[in-house]
Structure formats: C-alpha cells, structure tokens
C-alpha cells in the first residue's frame, strides 16, 4: 500500500519563489504540497481548482534518452493530485481532474482531462456478433471472455442475461472511480488528447493521437503500450496489450497480451487474450483467445472466432440485402480461413477446420471437427471430414499457443483450455461419426455426392472421415488411460485400478462446450447458468471464482469422460482390466501414436519435396537448387519440428517398455 502523503499549505516564501519562476494560481490557498516540496522544481505552471503536489526530489525514469529531473514545467493544472517525483512538462492545453501517482511522466501532451460524468469506458454497450443489435455486450474493466460469451451468446435465457447485466451495473457503481487516474510509473509522451481515460501502472502512452472514454489496465509485470497515432474511443484495454501504429478502435475491448497495430481498424468488437490484429478490419466480432488476423484486405465481420488464423483477404458477408446486416457466423476454435476465402453468413465451421475458396451458400459443418471445407467453382462447400487430424499444422498449432501466452501469470482474466484433443472435440467426433454412418446407410450407394446441412460430401470421404475419426478417438482414449496407469509411483494392478476411479466431484457429460476458450462439460455450464440466473453468484468475483473452479476441474472431468467412453468404445470394463489388458492397451496406444505421428511427419515432408524447391538456386546450376534450399530452409532430417516429433516417438517407446516391464514384474 503506498504511503499516504500528508499535505500542507504553501508558505508565503514558496508562493514568492513560484511566482518568480513564472507560476500563477487562481487561489494559492487551494494549492497544497508535501513536506519537502521544492518550488525550484515547478516553473511556468498555472494552478486552478484544488491542487495537491507530492515532493520532487529525484529524477524521472526514462526508457530511453537522458534522465530528467522530476517537477512541473510549462503546464496548466486544474483539480489535480500528484504523487511523488512526477514529471510534467509541456502541456498544450491543460491537465484537469486527474489523480497522478508516483513517478509518472507526462511530457508533450495536448490535453488531458476527465469530466464529471466519466465512466472511462465502463458501461459502453457494443453490438457484438450481430451488427444490427440483439447481442450487446457491456464493457467493464473486469470483463472476461467467458462473461462476455454468456452475455452475448446465451440470449435464449433472458433471466441469465438480466442477472449478468445486474452484476455489471453493481460492479460499475461500486468500483468505477469518478476521476481520471494515472498509475504509478506510467509514462505519457507526445500524445494529442486523453479525455476520460484511466491508466494503470507502468503503462506507456507514446505518440498516441486521441484516446477518449476508456480504461488502460496495466501493471508492473504486465505493462501496456499505446503508441504511434492510435485513435481509440469507448474502449477497455487489459494488461500487457500493445495497440500501436495508427490503429483505429471504437467500442472495443482488447484482452491481455493482445497486439493490435499497423492501421488495423475495429468497431463494436471484442478481442480477448493473445489476439493479434494488423492491417485489416473488424466489425462486430467476438474474437476469443488467440484470434489472429495479420494481413491487408482481411475483413472479419459478425463472427465468433478463437484460436483462429485469417489468411490474407479473408472476407465474410453478414448482409443479404434484405433486412439489414443481421447475419452471424461461427468458427469454432482452431479454424483457419485461406487467402481470399469468403463466407456468406450464416455459416458454422467445426473446430480445427480449414476453409478455402469463396463459399456462396450457407452451411453448417459444426458437427465435423478437423474438416476441410473447400468451395467449388460455383461456390458450393465440399467437405472432407476429419482431414486435419493428422496434419503437421494442427500439431504445431497445439504446441505453439501456450508458448505465446502473454497474460500476466499473477492475474489471468480469461480462462483458457489449450487442448486440441479433448472431450469437446472427441464428443463432436462421436456425433460426427454417427452422422456419417447414418449418411452412408441411408443414401443410395451410387450417389457420388451427398448433401448435409448445406455442404456436400463425396461418398468416398464418408468412409475416410469415419476412419480418421475412429483412429483419433481410440488414440485419445488409449493415451489417457496409458498416461494415468503409468503415472502411478508403484505400478501395480491394484494401484492402477485405484487410479482409474473417477473423482466424486467430477462432472460427466457426454457433450462438452467451449465457452470462449474454456472447455467444460455441458452440465457445468447449465449449473453456472442456473446459479447466475437465480442470483446465487453475488458479484463478479464470485463469477470469476466459479470459472476458476471449472478450469481447475478440467482433468477430473476429462477423466470422467474418458472412463465412461472407454467402456463404450472398447466394450470393456475399465475397473476390471487385467495385466494383459493393460499391456495390450500400452501397445495399442504406442501403435496408434506411431501411426498418427508418422502421418504428421509425412505431411511435414511435403515441405521439403521438389515442388517446394521451386524458385531456389536462382542464377545457379541445377545442383545449386538443393544447396540454396538447404541453406535457407534446412533439411528435413534436421528440421526442429521433425526432430521433436521423432523424440516424442522415441520417448514413448521407452515409456511403454518401462511400463510393461514394471507391470510384468509386479
């Protein structure tokens, strides 16, 4: 807790010195200072209203360039409180109604003020997902991806929505301060205007153009950066964001660790943890964690995204020239859109799927994870279910997201489940397999293409999809069982069986859901919805605590799902497995994982084939092509990813060997 500063009135000598240095005040009696105040550190400054100044004894830190002494130089201050060793220099208009904490630097700023009715972005209603309205999310500085998701997407439960709004209203009325505030050690430089913006600790505002009605959360371990020509209105930025380079944002939330820049523009949009947005445009989107759009000509509009990558020129329409921009799209987690792909909303894409081409019809592929969705020349969607289960891109993605997590460790606002294979995706695989089986059994075997929810499937791909899905489901379940069995310190049949029991607090649901990055059994969602709707969660903190519990229960809930589905898939009783059964499980898992990773490696190898060498060895002889290629790209054998995968396989072989030996010797 910062030490409370004790202020005193200025002495006549203080006033005389200040006046000699070009300072003035409407009423010197309203200016108070801390003991140790040195008038020499205040020059050419006018004071109006109630002013409190901490002492200036040291220098102000600078990220670059020379250190400068703290003090107030060439400024107009109205109704401001300053902490210790604040440096304010060269204010064009004024700083009004701000509390400025210790060690803040404010230099070359045009105008900085807060007005009596300011809410600093809290309470702003934004039209997310449906540009014509109906799914408004209210901004407040404790917003999380999960809270926003419930408020935006679960409109079918009006009592839930009502309670969520009450939680927000109570939070804003109790917590939101009425005055502008700049947190300790923040630096604001060369910024034209800051109106009704609260700024946290250690923030850097450098060369921003105009910031109004917003909150910039920032902390010493997760400082935020707003720079270079940014214009932002009606916003909340969470900790460790970087918003730079001419970004234009209106009615926007930017989550922890996100990066927005290079003239990206967005309105009525939410970007949660670890998003990246450069060059393009977003309108009315719900960007869950790890939504990434990097390229010019990309428009994301009226869509729900997460763990998503937009190819250049990605585009959608939410307007059919009928009743306005009322249509919405859904891309479940992990999906990608290829360069210049287009979708006409409404569409729903299943998790970890890839969308290519220009789709001119609406389709629902939500049931089919890891699918290839390619538009034909006439804009129809052709689906290959499950194709991306065994591709190098999917495996690399799963590995990369946790390493790119820029949320501060101490306080993570959005809850994120990183798992690619999980009861969520496996539940969809089970449902997809049932749908494919029905399709195969109920359609004419001579029909080459079958329509399903707006997409077309070529008949051979029904069989292929079933195979992909079956292999993935078996591998997933076997992996979980093997992992749990081998992690027993004492590997014995008795211990293993004991470790297979399901935690009493675990929740089993056949279906899991993805709530803006947090995976959970649907029954946990229902309980959460009911508790909110019935007013049993008192405030935002109780809500967050509940989410934390759900997040922490993932492994137990997952195991409940695995245990139940092992019996369904393998027609065997998990609690009565024999030693031989367990040995067979270990061997079957190894075989399944080897097959999977060998396919992934084979997919990676395509990046080193003859076609990939096109254009290499320019101006050289034929032998220089491979040489040039290897100098730039390296060789397949030494590729880091390939080496890693081969190590995983090697380690797994050892683990299985050790496990079987231990089991056989007990």
């Amino acid at each position: 807790m910062p030490e409370k500063i004790v202020y005193r009135k200025l002495s006549p000598e203080d006033i005389r010195l200040l006046q000699d240095q070009g300072c003035s005040a409407l009423d010197w009696d309203c200016v108070q200072v801390e003991e140790g105040f040195r008038p020499i550190r205040v020059r050419n400054t006018h004071f109006a209203g109630t002013i409190k100044l901490g002492r200036h004894t040291g220098v102000s830190p600078a990220d670059s360039g020379p250190e400068k002494i703290s003090g107030i130089f060439n400024a107009y201050l109205t109704d401001c409180t300053l902490g210790r060793d604040v440096r304010i220099a060269n204010v064009g208009v004024h700083i009004a109604n701000y509390d400025i904490a210790d060690n803040v630097v404010i230099e070359d700023v045009g105008i900085m003020e807060s007005t009596p009715a300011a809410t600093f972005g809290n309470g702003v209603e934004i039209e997310v997902l449906n540009e014509a309205g109906g799914r408004e999310v209210i901004l407040f500085d404790e917003l999380s991806a999960q809270f926003a998701y419930l408020l935006c997407l679960h409109r079918y439960r009006p009592e839930l929505i009502e309670q969520l709004k009450i939680l927000i209203k109570n939070y804003i009325s109790e917590s939101v301060q009425k005055r502008g505030h700049i947190g300790a050690a923040s630096q604001i430089r060369s910024t034209r205007e800051i109106i009704n913006v609260r700024i946290g600790e250690n923030a850097r505002i450098q060369g921003a153009s105009s910031l109004s009605n917003g909150t910039i959360l920032s902390s010493p371990d997760a400082p935020s950066l707003i720079a270079s020509g940014v214009i932002a209105r009606d916003f909340i930025f969470a900790e460790n964001v970087s918003v730079t380079d001419g970004a234009l944002l209106q009615k926007v939330y930017v989550g922890q660790g996100s990066r927005i820049g290079k003239q990206f523009s967005a309105e009525n949009s939410l970007f949660f943890a670890n998003c990246e947005a450069f060059h393009g445009e977003a309108c009315s989107i719900f960007a869950g964690p790890y939504t990434v759009t990097h390229h010019k000509s990309s428009l994301l509009i009226a869509g729900l995204f997460s763990f998503y990558n937009a190819g250049s020129g990605t585009n959608q329409s939410n307007h059919m020239y009928k009743l306005g921009p009322v249509h919405e799209g859904r891309l479940d987690r992990g999906s990608k859109t290829g360069s210049f792909s287009y979708m006409m909303w409404p569409c729903h894409v299943g998790p970890f799927s890839v969308v290519l081409g220009k789709h001119k019809t609406n389709f629902d592929a939500s049931l089919f994870p890891f699918s290839h969705l390619e538009a034909s020349q006439n804009g129809r969607c052709y689906m290959v279910p499950g194709l991306y289960l065994n591709t190098v891109g999917t495996v690399r993605d799963e590995a990369k997201w946790p390493t790119r997590d820029k949320r501060p460790a101490a306080h993570q606002r959005d809850y994120i489940s990183f798992h690619t294979l999980s009861p969520y995706t496996m539940g969809k695989i089970i449902a997809a397999s049932a749908a494919l089986n029905q399709l195969r059994d109920t359609t004419d075997p001579d029909r080459l293409e079958i329509a399903l929810s707006g997409a077309l499937i070529k008949r051979p791909f029904i069989r292929a999809g079933l195979k992909f899905y079956r292999s993935a489901l078996q591998m997933y379940i076997l992996e979980k069982i093997f992992d749990r069995a081998r992690k027993n310190e004492q590997v014995s049949l008795e211990n293993i069986r004991r470790s297979f029991s399901v935690n009493n607090n675990a929740v089993y649901s056949e279906q899991w859901v993805d709530i803006a990055g947090l995976l959970m059994p649907i029954d946990r969602l229902r309980d959460l919805q009911d508790d909110i709707a019935q007013g049993r969660l008192a405030d935002i903190h109780a809500f967050n605590h509940r989410l934390q519990q759900i997040h922490d229960a993932y492994l137990d809930d997952e195991w409940a799902w695995v245990a139940h589905n092992y019996e369904q898939v393998f027609n065997a009783d998990l609690m009565n497995l024999t030693k031989d059964d367990l040995v067979q499980i270990a061997r079957d898992y190894l075989k399944a994982r080897q097959k999977h990773l060998n396919q992934v490696i084979a997919d990676a190898q395509k990046e080193f084939d003859q076609q990939s060498r096109l254009g290499f060895g320019l101006d050289g002889s034929p032998g220089d092509i491979l040489n040039d290629f290897e100098q730039v790209r390296g060789s397949f054998e030494k590729n880091q990813f390939v080496v890693q995968v081969k190590k995983i396989l090697y380690d797994l072989e050892k683990q299985v060997e050790i496990f079987i030996n231990k089991l056989n010797s007990c």
Partner: protein, 78 residues
C-alpha cells in the same frame, strides 16, 4: 484386363475426371494424371469404398502409379 484393373481405372477416371484413355499402368497419379493432395486422399478412399477394404494410409499414399495401385489392391484382397 482383370476385374481389379478395370475397376481401379474406372475409379481413377471418375475421381480425377480424366479421359480413361490416359490411364495406363505406368501413369503417375500426380505428374501424369494431375492428382492434387486432396484427390490423392479421395482416391485412397474411393479404392477402399470400391473394393470394401481398409488400406493403410501411409502405404497407400506411397503408391505412385496406376499399376502400383492395381498390385496393392490385388494383394489387399487376396
């Protein structure tokens, strides 16, 4: 022409939409018949469907010619 050979060539023609006269035993799926990546997977799936067999993907995708596919399938159904 055996049944297997005839059926393989029919499936190739249908899947890759090529003139059957271009499909000889030495024809390479990618270089000669223009099979793209997805079409290679479609071909494997079509062979499985057509002959009601399960093929190991890695082994199947390693087959590069029509003649190779005929031999592969003949072994699979033997």
């Amino acid at each position: 022409m055996s049944d297997v050979e005839s059926k393989v060539k029919q499936i190739v023609a249908q899947t890759l939409k090529v003139d059957p006269s271009r499909i000889n035993d030495d024809a390479r799926f990618v270089e000669d018949l223009g099979a793209e990546s997805i079409q290679s997977i479609e071909l494997v799936a079509a062979f499985e469907e057509g002959f009601d067999i399960d093929m190991d993907e890695d082994a199947a995708l390693a087959v590069k010619t029509v003649g190779g596919a005929i031999k592969f399938i003949e072994q699979a159904i033997a």
